[in-house]
Amino acid sequence: MDSAYVLQALINGIMIGGVYALIAVGLSIVWGVMGIVNFAHGDWLMLSAYFSWIFYMYAGLDPLISLPLVVAIFILFGFANYKFIMKRFIDAPIVISIVATFSISLIMRFGAFIIFKPDYRLIKDHVLEGVYRFGEFQVSRAKFATFLIMIAALLLLFSFLKYTKTGKAIRATAQDRDVAKSLGVNVDRIFLITWGIGLACVAVAGTMISTFFYVFPMMGISFLLLAFASVALGGFGSVHGAVFGGIVIGIVQQLGGALVYPAFKDVFVFVIFILMLMFKPKGLFGKY
Amino acid sequence: MSSKCLEIKDLTKKFGGLIALNKISIHIDEAEIVGLIGPNGSGKTTLFNCITGFLKPDHGKVFLRGKDITGKYPYKVIQEKVSRTFQITRVFPELTTMENTLIAIDHKKESRFRSLYETNSKDEIKKASKLLEFMGISKLADEPGGELSYGQQKLLELAASLMQDPSAVLLDEPTAGVNPTLVNKIIDRIRAANKEFGTTFLIIEHNMDVIMDLSMRMYALASGEIITEGDPDKVRNNPDVLESYLGGA
């Protein structure tokens, strides 16, 4: 086992970590602002990946081009999901909100199963074929582009949160809903927007994932669990933490799989997850 | 010479750089009603939290009838027969009034495992009924705690606090937020409990009329320190005490 092998795994880890980071941010922002653990988060990812695939298969659109379209669609889906379903579950007991999002997850997962059949789909022959090579290392173009887009999306989101009025309102609501309300923030509207953001994150991730990964109905779960681990590591309620968590989880997963035992790559992630919860439930940067 | 029921010696509690309690030494004798006053932020509730073990004091000791109970877990302190109420009522909303009272029995001598199949004994139920009657809320016995009015909840908490024949009862603003008629009832019941059962009370209160009426002796707290103690009238009119309420922290 030479250092090149390890470094390659490290690079892969960082690349995929970017994806986990964006997914985790989507999960974390909804958790932090609205207190809802969205168990369907991974399945929205799955759905967006399917949309990307459908646009490719039937409209010949490369995922890079259909990306804005998919994101727009999913923001709308997010608004609808909040307005007609999730709104009811704000402040509901945890069991209830978990079961609510879980049942949506079931409907989506098995709905996809029925419509698309369990076949693994793959997008071939697109703009991002091929690999970049530098020295002994290689990165697939698709993963590299994905990584860049993840970074771009995250930067966009952070700027939005930091500099815009709505972004500040979102952060205020996350810190203290009542104070935000008394300052004139329309909390319902903030929730709507936050939910949309959550889904937008997943839409970006899902679309880009479809450029290098199989699309199949059950793909949501693994990403969801990795997102949970990332959020736990980085701290619930902290979006910066979620990014950190995502990258670390990506590295741990790839390195663990490369160095120890491929089938166990997720075990390391879960062990870290549970250790974090046991000893540092606030995560490394968390607020709860 | 009455024996000391609750004795606090040099109790100190810091939060980072902030000294919330600074070498607090107070005592309450058996069957006394002692008042604790002070402006907001003076450390009254922090003191209660340190006594019940919810917060661990940095220095000092808490003695209950001579026994050192400093820093024990809250449930253990309560089991040593210290009852405590909170500023905002803390009734179990989905338990009935009767259950809210029964749940405050003396848990020390209870077999935890056997409680899985045992129900409350007839004596326990009788005692709870008597206490609810004593507080005048018997007819609410089967109502869920969450549906009682605020004042009724305060009475319920008072009844519950007496369930285990406590050595000391810590009341945190027992009349706060309660309408005037009920305030008088609460005062009346506290005094009645003290007279009939010999219950020892340490009461935090903001309502001067109430605490002047009830206390046999008073402590005044400001910025984490006891600034005076003694006869209620004397304490209340003490210039330092008045200053602490009007002036800065």
């Binding site: 069991v95 978990i98 049942s103 879960f270 | 019940t52 309560i78 909303p93 338990l95 848990h107």
Partner: protein
């Protein structure tokens, strides 16, 4: 000191329970050895027992656990391993699996119970997934290949029969026993303590209740109950493997069934399982055949509807309906008298 089984004191209500029970006892004779129908009953009983196990720790004590299926699996694997390795009858293996499960619950609970609601729930999911991955790769317990029950039947010692009828009665007994346990706890002091912990744990501590002890107690009993079901389930399905048994969907199904029925009540899980399991089977036959997608989609829809409109569950919904009808008729009678 009293034992809270005053079952026969409220005579009239108990008819609703005794009659169906008696009916159940004779079902195999009425139905004949109709394997599929008996199978549906058995699965209902399994989910009643697992549901009650979950109900105890999550419904009553309020600790949201998503790892019930793991304790269920521990029971199955322990007794089957003992059977395969030292030819030990599952009747004894049962009493090895239960304490092991309870022990692991103790270890897990003592490390995780300081976590609040969502976090504890998510931690149990992580635990469940770790276990699944471990078992999938652990050669000692057969890894992904699983374990098969030796076909040494029909035999009481080996708990294996060709007919489903004896299994019917075993699982019926498990369903009854688990419901009885919840019944006793429900009316006991501990039941009240569990509920107080669920509503306000800190408040309960300030009433002198050792909340850590009670949470662990609930968790351990729940784990032992699930393990017991697992032992017999292995003997019923004759083959166990981590992929089928340690699927998070099983815990999800348990949660949904109990929530549908009414969480935190004695009869909620019974009602939930009795309605949803046959419904699921019916939907699977009618709409799916091979691809078992439809039953889960409809499950999801039903649960979403219940949680949206009647989160308190079907049992409480029905109870409230009967209450309000009774009150209305009382008022009508009162008015007609005046």
């Amino acid at each position: 000191m009293k034992i809270g089984i005053d079952f026969f004191k409220e005579d009239r209500k108990k008819i609703w329970i005794l009659l169906p029970l008696l009916a159940l006892l004779v079902v195999p004779y009425i139905v004949g050895d109709e394997p599929y129908l008996l199978h549906v009953f058995i699965i209902v009983f399994v989910y009643i027992a697992l549901g009650q196990s979950w109900n105890l720790v999550s419904g009553y004590a309020g600790q949201l656990c998503f790892a019930t299926h793991i304790f269920f699996t521990y029971g199955a694997y322990t007794s089957l391993m003992l059977l395969l390795r030292i030819d030990l009858t599952p009747w004894v293996g049962l009493f090895v699996g239960m304490p092991i499960s309870a022990g692991i619950a103790y270890l897990l609970g003592s490390r995780l119970f300081h976590l609040k609601g969502r976090y504890f729930a998510v931690a149990t999911i992580a635990f469940a997934e770790i276990m699944r991955l471990v078992f999938l790769n652990w050669r000692f317990v057969g890894a992904a290949y699983g374990l098969s029950v030796p076909l040494k039947g029909p035999s009481l010692y080996y708990v294996i029969w060709t007919s489903k009828v004896p299994y019917f009665y075993i699982f019926l007994a498990l369903a009854i026993i688990s419901t009885l346990i919840v019944y006793v706890v429900d009316r006991s002091k501990a039941g009240m303590y569990f509920r107080s912990i669920k509503q306000d744990e800190n408040g309960a501590q300030h009433k002198g209740i050792d909340t850590s002890y009670f949470k662990l107690l609930a968790f351990m009993i729940s784990a032992a109950m699930a393990a017991a079901v697992g032992t017999f389930y292995a003997q019923y399905v004759l083959y166990i493997d981590p992929r089928t048994l340690m699927d998070l969907l099983i815990s999800a199904k348990i949660v949904m069934i109990v929530l549908f029925g009414s969480i935190g009540t004695v009869y909620g899980p019974v009602l939930g399982a009795a309605i949803l399991i046959p419904l699921g089977e019916y939907m699977r036959i009618k709409l799916g055949g091979g691809s078992q997608g439809w039953d889960y989609v409809l499950y999801g829809l039903i649960i979403l509807l219940i949680v949206y409109y009647r989160p308190q569950g079907v049992y409480i919904m029905i109870k409230n309906q009967i209450e309000s009808i009774r009150r209305r008729t009382k008022n009508v009678l009162k008015m007609s008298r005046n």
